[in-house]
Amino acid sequence: MVTKEEYPTLLEGLIGELRRGALGLAVLSQLGQPEYGYSLKQQLAARGMDIPEGTLYPLLRRLEAQGLLESEWRVVDEARPRRYYRISPQGRQALGDLTHEWQALSQALGGLLTGGTK
């Protein structure tokens, strides 16, 4: 049993776990067009999914290492280099499968939560 003082940390951990699985899906969904990390973060935040930098960038690397994203460095304006990420063909397939899975999970969970406890 956690104390009252420990509860915020526990809740933070639980929310982190709940969100963790969904973040990959959120990122994949926004990378149909190439985006660099900072613009992606802004785009996600504007749609209600604020992901801290310390989570987003390692996630992008992980998705790339898994072959779900592709990336390249580009110098666009003011000669400032940026790393652009884009969903890969395998990422598109994963996005479709994960979206399907998410919808099923969301529906099931919705039923469980609105149905209350037995």
């Binding site: 900072y38 960038y57 390692p58 000669a79 790393r83």
Partner: protein, 324 residues
Amino acid sequence: MTDTLIDRYIHEVGVHLPAKTRADVQLELRSTLHDAMAERGLDPGQPEDADGIAALLGEFGEPEHFAARYHPERYLISPAAFPAFRLSYGIAAVVVTIVHLIGLVLQINRGGLSLEWWGSFMANYVDNMLLNFGVVAFVFYLLEGFKVIKPSKADPAWDPRKLPAIKDPDRVNRTEELVGIIFTIAALLVFNFAPHWIGIISWDDGGARVFPVLAESFLAYVPWLTALWLGELALKALVYRARRWSRVLRLGEFVLQIASIFVLYTIIQNAEIVNIAVVDNLVKFGLSVAVAIMVLEAAKQLFVLLRGEQPALSLERIIERIGK
């Protein structure tokens, strides 16, 4: 130019990252921080923007925690323990190397450097380095397994402004070089024009008297030492002026180190340095240790030369990387 808070943050993140991905992650982090600063109208060169930049870095979190998220989840040594592991292994490796170099110098003095001896020496050295790595890794594995080393928790009071300054391996310590120049000039003058000043001082009724101790056979090598010191003097003057170590200067230093090792080794083997037998043995032992340290320094210099320039985060280098 002093490094900015942004430079220090990026550097500190790199300290906690594996070498393979370090430069790339640092590049992306720099690019992101610049985007964030541009959006907030912050300039790292402006002192009045320091608080805004500190707040921005605070959002990114402590460098150790930021870097930790880049590590794969399975590891033998955790990101939190990795800097301590690397330092411990480095210290142990230096100790093993010095012990072997002392053994090498003693064997040189005994004059028994056969091919078989070299083979056994190298095999023994590699064995000990591997054993050393294994023992240090195992100790850290146990320390983490038994929770003696725990992952550090994020510190809510962490202040980015307290980040340490970046150590630049090419930056010259001019005071050190200047002291070196003064001592080299002093050695040149004393050994060439007044070698009889080096000796045992005795006070009697007639005042202080110096009894010279340098042996004639050693004085015959003074021209060799003079050539070395002149070379050293020229190099130190160039280094002092350049303010930074370049590849050419490092090569010059390496050549001088090798020449010094050769001259000192020849003196130890062939000459009597001091005309008092017991003291001569002590001086030769001291010089042997100095030669061992010089071999280590030369090896380090060679490693830096062969490794070439470390990936810097300059715009030119970034563009060069993109080109590839």
